[in-house]
């Protein structure tokens, strides 16, 4: 496959209450092998997926939050989080997991994967995509 497309995975569901976040993440991890231009957007309750400190010991569900930390190793390093969605929910950037990736082209410097963007910026990003998959 010679073509490279811009794929965006749009996440709008909170984790655990429904399976969309978990199964959405599984698509992203598999999709990473296809060497497309990949990003993720977190809008609305989707921002809760990145909340720090998730612990499912007492509810006996599968804690899949560590998998977000692995995204950098899969070269998925553009996670756009809508600022307005965070604010409406009483959250800020410090509430989110500190996700990073190592930039091969910059002497493996460790860089942040999460980018807090405005609603207007996110609207622009959506327009730039070739394929949008919604979870």
């Amino acid at each position: 496959m010679s073509e490279t497309k811009k794929f965006m995975y749009v996440n709008r569901h909170a984790p655990y209450g429904t399976v969309y976040a978990l199964e959405g993440l599984e698509v992203v991890l598999i999709g990473a092998a296809f060497e497309q231009d990949v990003s993720m957007a977190f809008i609305g309750d989707g921002v809760f997926q990145l909340k720090q400190g998730q612990d499912t010991a007492d509810s006996d569900m599968k804690n899949f939050s560590p998998a977000y930390r692995a995204l950098g190793d899969y070269e998925v390093n553009c996670l756009y989080v809508e600022r307005e969605s965070l604010e409406e929910r009483g959250l800020n950037e410090d509430d989110l997991m500190p996700l990073t990736w190592e930039d091969e082209d910059d002497d493996w410097a460790e860089k942040k994967s999460i980018h807090i963007v405005s609603r207007a910026q996110l609207s622009d990003l959506l327009e730039e995509q070739d394929v949008i998959l919604n979870f």
Binding site: Y16, G44, K51, G53, N63, R89, G90
Partner: protein, 100 residues
């Protein structure tokens, strides 16, 4: 009467509908994605806090913990309980209305 809400107040009308119909003296237990309604500082927090003088509001601890919400982030006055407490609330009230 015990009311349960299992949906995020940001995504669903369930909590709003529940609060519009719950009588003073009712118990309300937030479960699953409903526990996001217990977070302080959100656009819904004030509306929810105002009802605490007439409705006793609980949030399910295991669901808060799964979602990374520590108790110091909750609206002041909301109580945290576990599955045992859920059973006690369901038996202690005469019936349960689940706002799905």
């Amino acid at each position: 009467m015990l009311h349960t809400v299992n949906k995020s107040p940001h995504d669903s009308s369930s909590l709003r509908t529940c609060l519009s119909l719950a009588k003073p003296g009712s118990d309300l237990l937030l479960i699953e994605d409903g526990v996001y309604g217990a977070l302080s500082g959100s656009i819904h927090s004030d509306t929810i806090a105002e009802r605490l003088n007439s409705v006793t509001i609980y949030a399910l601890g295991p669901d808060l913990k799964a979602r990374g919400i520590s108790e110091d982030r909750l609206i002041s006055g909301i109580k945290v309980t576990g599955y045992d407490g859920f059973v006690e609330l369901a038996s202690g009230n005469d019936k349960v209305q689940s706002w799905l």
